[in-house]
């Protein structure tokens, strides 16, 4: 059964049709990739799934629920995690605090509880500090725990953002070009992490220009061009499809 079903999804930016009547499904516990040239509408699709900008029309069904009617900040609690194309870590917070923010939707201390420093709030605070430390340990970021996140090298900012997104315990994780700007070695590490995340039960939807990685890890590939879906299928079929080669692969060549 599919975890995510997208029907006739369309997004207009005054005149420009960035996403044009797109349909696809993402099966539970799979890795599904969206590929396509620059400006094809990949990030715009991610934005609509994660609540940053309502679709012009169409519907997004996640876990049996229509998302387009849900308040944007509630999507996280429903199980949608998102990592941005350009890392959006919180530079003024420490590395540990960044991950602690990831537990926001699972905790409750509000203005009054935190202002009064109530015991329940202190307990919650200690609990998520523990959880966040575990996440940092998983990503080998423990020694940078106290540093301001803005001072981390680029590759580690990427990892931190993924660790933070995993803290929300997503059922579906959206990764937007996670290997952009990484060295080949870092890319290899990240690839294995993505597989581990999938094995632990999280469904992954990934936008990626590194095609050899896409074809080696994905179960299913969707190809967008000028906002339209031009093809979808397993990697073996996608890499041989003439239209896809013409629109995208041909121009880039397969690394």
């Amino acid at each position: 059964m599919a975890l995510l079903d997208i029907f006739n999804l369309t997004k207009n930016f005054d005149g420009l049709v960035a996403v044009d009547n797109v349909n696809f499904s993402v099966g539970e516990r799979t890795i599904t990739a969206i590929i396509g040239p620059n400006g094809a509408g990949k990030t715009t699709v991610f934005n609509m799934i994660s609540g940053l900008g309502k679709p012009t029309s169409g519907s997004i069904i996640f876990d049996g629920l229509e998302l387009t009617k849900v308040k944007e900040y509630k999507l996280c609690g429903m199980g949608i995690g998102r990592v941005f194309q350009i890392p959006k870590i919180f530079g003024e917070l420490s590395v540990l605090e960044n991950v602690m923010v990831g537990f926001h939707a699972q905790t409750r201390s509000d203005l009054v509880k935190t202002g009064l420093h109530l015991p329940s709030m202190v307990r919650e605070e200690n609990m998520i500090r523990e959880w966040a430390l575990k996440k940092l340990e998983m990503f080998n970021l423990l020694e940078s725990e106290e540093k301001l996140a803005g001072t981390l090298p680029f590759g580690n900012q990427r990892l931190l953002e993924i660790a933070r997104a995993l803290a929300t315990e997503p059922k579906l994780l959206l990764l937007d070009e996670p290997t952009a700007g990484l060295t080949p070695a870092e890319t290899e590490v990240l690839k294995n992490r993505i597989l581990t995340i999938r094995d632990s039960g999280t469904t992954i939807l990934i936008v990626e220009h590194n095609l050899s990685m896409v074809f080696s890890i994905s179960d299913h590939v969707i190809v967008l061009n000028y906002g339209k879906k031009i093809f979808e299928g397993p990697p073996t079929l996608v890499r041989r499809n003439p239209e896809v080669i013409d629109a995208y692969i041909g121009r880039r060549g397969l690394k």
């Binding site: 994660s50 609540g51 940053l52 308040k71 944007e72 900040y73 509630k74 999507l75 996280c76 609690g77 949608i80 995690g81 998102r82 941005f84 959006k88 870590i89 919180f90 530079g91 003024e92 917070l93 605090e97 602690m100 923010v101 990831g102 926001h104 939707a105 905790t107 201390s109 509000d110 203005l111 935190t114 202002g115 009064l116 420093h117 709030m121 919650e124 605070e125 998520i128 933070r164 997104a165 929300t168």
Partner: protein, 325 residues
Amino acid sequence: MITIRLLLRGLFHKRILTGVGIGVLLVFPFIFSREYLINVSIFTGIFVVLLVGLSLFIGHVGQFSFAQAAFYGMGAYTSSLLTTRLGVAVWLGFLAAGALPGLTAYAIGSLTLRLRGYYLAMVTLALCGIFHVFVTEQYSITGGPSGVYGIPPLSFGKIRVESAASYHYVVWTIAVLSLIFSRNITKSRVGRALKAIEGSEDAATVLGIDVSGYKIKIFTLTGVSAGIAGSLFAHYVTYIAPGNFTLDLSIWLVVILAIGGVRNISGVVMGAGFTTIFPFLLGPYQKYNMLVFGIILVLVLMFLPGGITGVIGRKIEGAKAKLLV
């Protein structure tokens, strides 16, 4: 040499500074028994309460609000009118004084803070104008330009707070508690959420943070704290008039925070102290106060971004680093 170093390091320590501050507040009425000095301390305390919510809002939401004088006035008028006209118990009037501006702030925030852009600044400028017209012209309710007289002193049950010294303790208890409250907020889940929003509203949203909800909550807090300050003011001076709550004050408060530094408790306390003594400092040159103030503001914005406390904070960090070597 070593002892001097230790002493310096001690002085730089926040806890020790706080301890010294609280010690001074405790003995203040005994050492400075002159009425006008106690008044300086009381008004400083009231201004701390007035500024504390605003500093959270400017420092952590990053927008300007010019509603502070109106909320302050609303609090002052609410508890004055309830206690003088309707004979409501003072402590109830005091609570209502926090609630009414709080609700007003919530309503204004809900309408403006969901939009992108700086609508709130404009709407709050207008609110000050509307409030002033209302209290000046609705003679039958507010007493019009001549204001409200004979406001009873604060009392909680049988305990009446009449002497200046006892008022000093009440005001500063509330002021210190509100500073602690705001500090606790910034050091917790809510504070992290606010910093996250500041870093990236999109990233905050996908992590489950209700961005406009938090902005509205913090703005509501500016209303509640200003209202409480207004009530403390009214029950101390026992006479209020529209002239106490004009737009000048709102602008002054925003600017004084920019000068003092919005992110620090010491910025709030310095701002409150400066608000109290500025009129005295200028003495006969009071009519130039806005000019002098304007010049100070420009200089600070040009040379001390982050405010005075921001700069002192960095200097102290630097000195500490050297001393620790």
